[in-house]
């Protein structure tokens, strides 16, 4: 990626959201990720019950639902933080009954976190660099003996540093490179979180409430970043979000969860029309 691509077509995309979904729906490929009959329990508490849905290549797939609907748990199952008691997850034809974080990462699935899980003690740069870890090859000895003159480790560092710098430009956080993330304002931390995920050059990007607690401008920036990523690299995006407005604007298809069950699935318009969803959100029962 390069910094200048941050503007250009995407600006238009952000400017005219209505036009975008149509534009992208044509690009949707076949199913990359399929979740079937997932159930997850903590002791007696049922977090997820028999959830199934699929994610297509290049699409923006949203998972919505009220608090405690089990959205984050769903993501945690996908990248192996939790192990569901039942159900299977299929990724590019390979089927698992539980995922292993490392494998998931190697298969090109990256993820951001709802309440920031950044590495507090490290600088912005190091946080994003850590996203490149999977791609770094030099062994401990090479790293121990690294030096500016004759060492693979040094070369590797600066190569990856280059990639990371582009991400930093893209996310417009150049000024904070060497600041410990702990000291950054919330909105920027969210960007760093995204940056760390992007550094993995993911094929599928799981975003856990990327806009939670942001003001309007920040939300617009963030949705722009997301759409850009999706456009430029065709990265498939699975997105958890509260803000219905944003979701409906930027996502192609939406899954709705409530109390750990799936109550709706389809395009934004279909979901909008779905009575269960409405009742879940407006709290009326029928």
């Amino acid at each position: 990626m390069s910094a200048d691509t941050a503007v250009g077509p995407t600006a238009a995309a952000a400017a005219d959201p209505a036009a975008v979904p149509g534009a992208r729906r044509r690009r949707q490929g076949e199913v990359v990720l399929e979740v079937s009959n997932i159930s997850l329990r903590f002791g007696g508490v049922k977090a997820l019950t028999d959830i199934s849905f699929d994610v297509r290549e290049h699409e923006v797939r949203a998972i919505i639902g009220p608090n405690g609907a089990g959205k984050s748990s769903m993501l945690n199952c996908i990248n192996g933080v939790y192990t569901p008691q039942e159900g299977r997850i299929t990724f590019r034809g390979r089927t698992f009954d539980h995922m292993n974080s490392r494998e998931v990462a190697e298969m090109g699935v990256a993820r951001t976190f709802q309440n920031l899980a950044l590495f507090k003690g490290m600088s912005v740069l190091d946080n994003i660099m850590s996203g490149r870890n999977l791609k770094m090859r030099t062994n401990i000895l090479q790293q121990a003996f690294r030096n500016p003159w004759w060492s693979g480790a040094e070369r590797e560092e600066s190569e990856h540093r280059e990639v990371v710098e582009r991400i930093i430009d893209f996310l417009e956080i150049q000024a904070y490179r060497k600041t410990p993330v702990g000291r950054l304002p919330y909105g920027l931390q969210k960007r760093v979180d995204l940056g760390r995920a992007l550094a993995m050059e993911p094929q599928v990007l799981l975003l856990d409430e990327p806009m939670a607690g942001m003001n309007v401008e920040e939300k617009q920036d963030m949705s722009r970043f997301i759409l850009d990523v999706n456009d430029e690299y065709g990265t498939t995006i699975v997105l958890i979000e509260h803000d219905m407005g944003v979701v409906m604007d930027i996502s192609d298809r939406v899954v709705v969860l409530d109390y750990g069950r799936k109550i709706g699935d389809g395009t934004p318009d279909e979901v909008r029309a779905n009575p269960d969803v409405i009742s879940a959100y407006l709290g009326t029962s029928h």
Partner: protein, 358 residues
């Protein structure tokens, strides 16, 4: 005014990746090293060498090792003494059993053995966290103490279980005078400090810190906790082991397991807390503080007493030393929980902006 980085532009990432990106720091460090290598031998007397500088360097090395485990990887260990002991006894056995074994090689191999033991006792850290782990590491401490006391083979069947080495030499250079010993320790300390610095600023270092700061997130971006933690244990115990070997070979000359007792483990932990967790520099600050303070106190107190005309008994001095030491530790934790290293960097920040406060 002197301490400014403006006008120093980085034209390549490599130049920005340097250990000391600011020219003044580079010069400062160079001067410091020059001083340590050339000036100190001129200034220090034998007592200075044997009782302060050599122990300081060796313990600083050990603290450095511990800091990698605790400060960078966030795994608390109270078993450091044991790993020093493993290093010392392994080196001893290699040194006396294989004749013609070069001292330096023996010491390094001692470190290697220590690393192996470290990994072994590090395995629980994959499941056990925090204080539970801390106490679990005490198992290493007490077990090793026992093993070196009980298993005659380790001590080359010496009746008393105490071992000793002599006739140290390095590549034909005979090391007997205190200032040669000092230079040896200094050299080793510097080398390991550099290597450690390299590790912590490379991706392995980032893996350790990631595990320390947020292990779940670390796992999600593809860091294997097993690998990160065990490498931390290995590297840490390696350095600690080397320090242990030096402690036995160079400082004590003859030792028994008591030389690596649990008190040593605590002492080292103090050093990195006072000096600064997660800071190479800090390990040295901490070691200096902890080594010098008691000696200073128990020489200063009688002098002070003499000033006001009362003779303080040795016992009183010893007890006061305990009290002041304890009090200082607490005072420190209250004033600067992040240790001397933090004070140092704050100082630098200030200096950078001086004379303009913002």
């Amino acid at each position: 005014m002197l301490y400014r980085e403006n006008g120093q532009f980085k034209t390549s990432y490599t130049s920005d990746l340097q250990v000391f990106p600011i020219a003044q720091d580079r010069i400062g460090i160079a001067l410091l090293l020059a001083f340590a290598v050339f000036a100190v031998p001129l200034l220090a007397d034998e007592y200075m060498f044997r009782a302060i500088l050599i122990p300081f360097l060796i313990l600083a090395l050990a603290a450095l090792g511990l800091n990698i485990l605790v400060g960078y990887c966030g795994q608390i260990s109270l078993g450091t003494g044991a790993f020093m002991a493993v290093g010392a006894y392994a080196a001893y056995n290699l040194f006396v059993r294989i004749d013609g074994m070069p001292m330096l090689l023996a010491i390094l191999l001692g470190g290697a053995f220590s690393a192996a033991v470290g990994v072994l006792f590090g395995i629980p850290s994959l499941r056990i966290k925090g204080l539970y782990l801390a106490v679990a590491t005490l198992a290493a401490q007490f077990f090793c103490d026992w093993a070196f006391l009980r298993i005659k083979w380790f001590t080359n069947d010496s009746a008393s279980g105490s071992v000793s080495v002599s006739g140290l030499s390095l590549l034909g250079w005979k090391i007997d005078t205190p200032h040669e010993k000092y230079l040896l320790c200094l050299g080793i300390a510097i080398v390991f400090a550099m290597l450690a610095k390299n590790l912590v600023r490379s991706h392995i270092g980032r893996e350790w810190m990631a595990i320390r700061d947020m292990d779940v997130a670390a796992a999600v971006i593809g860091i294997r906790p097993v690998y990160a933690k065990l490498t931390a244990f290995a590297v840490s115990s390696f350095i600690v082991g080397v320090a242990g070997a030096l402690w036995g070979f160079v400082h004590l000359g003859a030792w028994e397991p008591a030389a690596f007792s649990i008190d040593r483990s605590f002492q080292l932990l103090f050093m990195i807390i006072i000096g600064g967790l997660g800071s190479i520099m800090g390990s040295f600050f901490g070691a200096a503080f902890i080594v010098v303070l008691p000696i200073f106190l128990n020489q200063a107190l009688p002098a002070l007493g003499a000033l006001v005309g009362v003779t303080i008994s040795t016992a009183a001095v010893a007890h006061t030393e305990f009290m002041i030491f304890g009090a200082l530790i607490v005072f420190f934790l209250i004033v600067e929980p992040h240790g001397l290293a933090r004070l140092w960097s704050i100082g630098k920040e200030k200096l950078r902006l001086w004379p303009f406060p913002h």
